[in-house]
Symmetry: C2
């Protein structure tokens, strides 16, 4: 029930509490020899990945771990459904970046950096299959990860539906594109989904979006590094918006 560092919570009660109270937790580690159904259930509900490890690994975080440790996120997460109304209240024209399974820390960091600089309002990403937002990621983002609002979602499909219901056009940048970024009116509220380098945007998300876009001079979407493609699209959006 004690805490070895500020970033690690150990002990069954403390970990369960952290998961149910809405604290930002990156991952949970459990002793692979024991079963902790309450914690598994709470982690699943919170969209937090669970790693099964040998007990020796947990011992490093303190003697009283009781078979479980939770790692607090280095960054803070916000709720998309509080954030979006807030953007409208502030008189902003929402610009949202959605990262579908960007697991490379360098790409996640560079995209966050570009998003901050090029005026995106928030980064949305799934709890699973995203880069771990650790000290390295913060460094590679030039600290942008500590400044730009971040929404970690259990389910990107519902997040997309929610954005669309909030009047935001959701576009995917993917090699299955039909529409050039020159032919999109970016003066409207917009969210851009960028997909994993290997696989692009997930098919179940592509079915939900308002359009699939490409960079006209750049051939197929996967012909550019994803952080370069993100930078170009954000640049084009601001070029159109600011004239």
């Amino acid at each position: 029930m004690t805490q070895k560092t500020n970033w690690v919570i150990i002990g069954r009660h403390a970990v369960l509490e952290s998961l149910t109270s809405g604290q930002a937790i990156d991952k949970v580690m459990t002793d692979r020899m024991i079963s902790l159904p309450d914690i598994m259930e709470a982690a699943k509900k919170a969209g937090v990945p669970v790693q099964k490890v040998p007990m020796e690994k947990l011992n490093k975080f303190g003697a009283n771990h009781q078979g479980v440790a939770a790692f607090k996120a280095m960054v803070e997460y916000q709720n998309l459904d509080e954030l979006v109304p807030h953007l409208y209240e502030q008189g902003k024209n929402p610009l949202i970046v959605i990262l579908d399974r960007i697991t490379d820390v360098g790409n996640f960091g560079a995209i966050t950096r570009s998003s901050e600089v090029l005026g995106a309002d928030v980064i949305v990403f799934p709890a699973r299959e995203s880069a771990q937002l650790n000290a390295d990621a913060v460094k590679r983002s030039s600290g942008a990860l500590l400044r730009i609002p971040l929404c970690r979602e259990k389910d990107l499909a519902s997040a997309i539906r929610y954005l669309q219901q909030s009047g935001i056009m959701v576009l995917a940048a993917d090699e299955k594109a039909k529409t050039s970024i020159h032919d999109i009116d970016f003066k409207k509220p917009v969210a851009i989904i960028l997909g994993s380098e290997g696989e692009g945007v997930a098919p179940e998300l592509l079915r939900k979006v308002d359009d699939i876009i490409y960079i006209p001079q750049a051939g197929k979407m996967d012909s550019l590094n994803v952080s370069v493609a993100a930078g170009i699209i954000l640049y084009e959006i601001q070029r159109q918006r600011k004239g």
Copy 2:
């Protein structure tokens, strides 16, 4: 005088021959206990860096190294003063990317990838203080390093002078910028210098360029990752050129 692999040349005569014949050599290693003035001189002339190492390191490449090994470049280099007239002969509107001390393999690779996709004709970079163009760099460029012409120059200042004499406008992307990329006429032949992430473009090069440019929506030049900035500038050039 034998060769252990295709990439390593050992023996004094063979290394000297490789340096004087204009072969693309990445670097030379010499036994730090001996002096090889002919090879030092030839390496200097060819702009090839020399590393002094313990003899044990050279032994790995074969028994007959005679205190010296040369590493063939994985990529091929071309001569800028043959390449530029050739671009004009082909009826091209030259678009040249100059990388001033980009040492990060990931950035060098990503910029090469963007350059190929966004239609740059050649990458120019200095023999010293550039990323090593090894298998990792080739991979991170998605193979573009094997396809786009590469010019490794002993002296970027003379390369810039040569380009200007050939009718090419040379621009530096640097935080000391005065001119927005929206205010440049990119329909002219153009070369863009991108500088090292830490220091930007070297002051002695900034003094020679025709203008220093910035990305209007992106604040200071160093606020974006250099490969993202390169991608945006190349995109803007092609947007203007292709309409």
